[in-house]
Symmetry: D2
Subunit: 350 residues, 4 copies
């Protein structure tokens, strides 16, 4: 049994990554790929040469009616915020399920869109209906959703280590959470911009949008945390993919290793894509890139009053396309890891 799916916005980096997974997914049949006007009529294998001999699909311009006629069950949107904002209501009106990788349906409060996204939101009802697609935390709601707002890449890297701490009450109320994140360039999309040229990025490293990045309100919404006590500073790494976040917290009282270990095990024991490294080993990009894993590690200060948490993900997979497919699996009653694992000799004791 294969579900008909479409990938809209296939010419960017997350579109490519998603298509690679979709093409090998045993329960999906990709019946349409769509891209901006300029790429209409092109073979995806000409846009992304690594797909040569793997697919003969041809890009159409984005067209909701055509997807409905093709009996598409689920559409994945890898489109810019403004495009998703327009497409989602049309697709849903036609009865499709939608997994949107943009930020257009992540914030529940429509009033947040003008300041953070620069546009007035025209579908506040859908904001309520949309389920935030952090797979490990909202599995049940995702299973019944018809619109999943797939989390931002930075948000995923911050929420996975922070949610257990905040929800268990380990963090001292009123203290500041600091999230110092570092991302590869594909997080910024594939549009040609001077500051993304190889000669500008290689051998360079820099912060950007400190405090004002739009993933900050998204993270605070999911943590239920005051934005004034959350400091988010993203940086641009000279790597193609991957996000490593270093998170600084103050505990409510002292915390020891065993408590942390127990709390994380409790929350994530059933979730194979979250690998808890504890304080023994530290996350790094090379261990997670090209996979759907999120590695989490930590160190405590001597007095146990503060903790440093590290998380690493592939921004294009667990931070975008991989989690989107994980959500698709949840929505279709499949095991979460279908189509997402490299190896099959799964350890039971690791």
């Amino acid at each position: 049994m294969r579900f008909k799916v479409a990938v809209v916005g296939v010419s960017g980096y997350s579109g490519l990554e998603l298509l690679k997974i979709v093409l090998r997914h045993p329960a999906m049949e990709c019946v349409a790929v769509m891209a901006a006007e300029a790429n209409g009529g092109k073979r995806v294998a000409d846009i992304h040469p690594r797909l040569r001999a793997l697919t003969s699909l041809i890009c159409d311009p984005a067209d909701p009616e055509r997807l409905a006629l093709s009996k598409v069950d689920t559409a994945f949107l890898c489109t810019p915020n403004e495009v998703s904002h327009e497409l989602v209501p049309k697709l849903m009106a036609l009865g499709l399920r939608v997994i949107d990788l943009s930020g257009s349906f992540r914030l529940r409060n429509a009033a947040s869109y003008p300041p953070w996204y620069g546009f007035e939101h025209m579908a506040p009802d859908l904001l309520e209906r949309a389920v935030y697609g952090l797979s490990e935390w909202n599995a049940e709601r995702i299973a019944h959703a018809d619109l999943v707002a797939n989390p931002g890449c930075y948000s995923t890297s911050a929420l996975i280590p922070l949610l257990p701490l905040v929800q268990s009450g380990m963090i001292a109320p009123g203290t500041d959470l600091i999230c110092d994140s570092k991302s590869g360039v594909t997080g910024a999309g594939r549009g040609p911009r001077l500051e993304m040229l190889f000669a500008e990025v290689s051998e360079n490293f820099r912060p950007y949008s400190p405090i004002t990045h739009r993933h900050a309100p998204e993270i605070c919404q999911e943590l239920d945390w005051d934005l004034n006590h959350f400091t988010f500073v993203p940086h641009l790494l000279p790597v193609t993919r991957g996000i490593l976040s270093t998170i600084y917290v103050c505990f409510h009282g002292r915390v020891d290793e065993d408590q942390l270990e127990a709390e994380y095990r409790r929350r994530y024991a059933q979730h194979r894509f979250i690998r808890i490294l504890g304080s023994a080993r530290l996350p790094e990009l090379s261990a997670v890139n090209h996979s759907n894993f999120c590695d989490v590690g930590w160190r405590l200060t001597c007095d146990g009053r503060r903790g440093i948490f590290f998380s690493a993900i592939d921004n294009l997979i667990k931070g975008a396309a991989g989690q989107a497919v994980q959500n698709f699996n949840l929505m279709h009653g499949l095991a979460q890891d279908v189509g997402l694992v490299e190896g099959m000799d799964v350890a039971t004791d690791d």
Copy 2:
């Protein structure tokens, strides 16, 4: 039905790449991984953190007897030349089939070993018995082999474009073949050496071992070409993986596009891992990395007397682990691409 396999020499880059494929291969069961003494007893997931939660295998020191007791059908050797040279006779004596990724059984003439490899070959009988594992050219012999000498990475990148030209008689006899190859650093192994440090390789590029590289006699043996008329110059690229070879030939008479196209199509039409780009597009590493494909393209000079051929492969996959698995598939009557394709929506018309 799954065949029991072992990977010996798992701590290097080709060992890791091979293990990743083996773990997801539907017809293999990996019953043992072996590594040098220093890594004995370690979990492979501790040597290669990206395998965490994907395998619980533990490295043993290389031990032929133990493999025989485990009823291993096929052993893959990712070991240094000297180690393979010693292990292969023992494994074969115990009845195992062997796919050796080192150079120890590639040259048919034992007398070539002292000058090119620096050791006296102790198993000249096995040199005769070994089948050179260039999958697309020796499929039938590989299917019946019990010892496959897996080709060198540079050799694969040179032979795939050159064999059709040489065998069809298109190259002018007595002229010089020039192969200017560029490889990523994993071709040099994982041993810590000054010249392989990030600070030495990044923003650098250099030739090494011009003329005297040991893949030159291997290529000439398979082409049946005089080594004195073959100039091979490898260079070190600041990339982790991939080989691009630029090959210059003089034709016997004039050659036109259609002839070339026809010849390559004839030779490779049945071989999905060889993608013929012709003169329309040029190969590049990013199109083949992390895959078992070899892309081949060319340009002719205006007068049609000379040609420039380009090939691109992932040195760790088509140039090592991927081709090894392709050979395993041939040896076990499986389709050549089992376990080796990312996507499943295979184009028939590309």
Copy 3:
């Protein structure tokens, strides 16, 4: 008038960088270069090919007597901690002035050496006599020093932005300072180690030694700050050179842009190598690499209670060799920037 100098430990990255500056410095004559036994007798141009045709100097094994006989005025030590620890007392006994780039004379308290450096310090008297070579802060004492302990690279990147804040009382007492630093690989030296191979570092990023790095006590000593309230987390960037530090502080009361601007201008107006970017622009490695500049920028939270400070330096220049030469200039009554500026059309209003 040129002073005779020697560079000891010339085969590493900071040794090379220092030698490049020394060779073009108008007030230095390099009369000797020394390296470990293994490189004795080699031309430095063979160890560092970029110096071909720029110097005919030959490496001697480190030998204090020979330097004294050559009437060396000042010796620069780019040697490992243990080697500096042994050489410095001998050189000083022979009457040389010493600028030591290692950590062996940076901590004033001898008792700090066993826990942080793993050896018992044998020259506690020299620890008292050594001047900490942060050029912009200790200029007068450096001018009269005969032993300068050149600051650590991370320490330089942290102290330049933090000292004005701490000394002016802007930081709330008892709060935590957090320094999230990212460094290129040359900070780790030129010894061949697996984790510094190109294939391990490229496309990777990772934290290391969180909390326990030995630059933490050095920074706290100079800030006069409680180590228990200082959290230092270094990370390894896939770049050859450069450090960017992101520093999080809580102010004592509210602070506004003008106060910060005024304080930094006051402290650094006379110091051309410190470029204050304020909140208008953000530091980045590409703006400082291959120079002796330190760029400092910041952002405040909306409520003005907390600040994020960014600093960028070239770890090999302002973080090592450049600052060492700046200190040499101070010790010899020269302008601080002799031999250290690329351009000569100095802006007076920037």
Copy 4:
């Protein structure tokens, strides 16, 4: 005594590199910098942050009259071909000397411009008057030139090793010269293009414009060699700067090491920027980057009938800005290396 100079086209990579040298050159005073309209009125230090505190110059739009009024002696043009083509006649009519880094005045035959550059040349008289600025070969003519056509980066890397071979008659007439070149990305300029994004270039490598690159006719013109017997294949390296060319030739008769050594020494002994490595060592980018050196090495085949020559330069320095300044020095009666050497302790015996 300082000559007034201007840099036109300062916002690109060669413009920046040139300005860095100009600012530190003891015989130049930079009185104007010009850039395209979009950057008019901007401080160069805002376009290139590494120039902060090194210059207060502000970009004007390109304006020949203004340069004449400022009594500019020499204008350096780092402008696109079409812009140089228009500006040069105007500047010369106003009496300025011009060093043009574009290709607009390199080919002597006006008829070559439409096929190779896509425009009709409007100043054929200036093509005759322009001197090709390969400093080591045309020093006398450059000294008296008022228009220098600065060589292409690839051309410099090919001509320096090839000219001694061709002019001495060592190459067999009628044979093919093959030049397999690899360049860093700054050779392609600073315009934002998809294929120059970090994510497209990093971990990638590819040929481009084989046979048809416009530096081929330039090289053949200077060698006086038939374009039909010259095969030029450029490739794009994932590095910011540097070109390494690997050149394959057939000798006229046998050639031995001593002959080559003698010929190169004879031609280049007086030219400090050409470092002849012979067959003992091989050129590499890291040895020449950030310098005006060109390193040349070679290997012969066993039978001495063919040779492989390697050259390495920094494309932005010896391949552009550095050679332009070297030409300026020649035009103004200065030593060739003024403003161009890092170190001052020049070896006499290397």
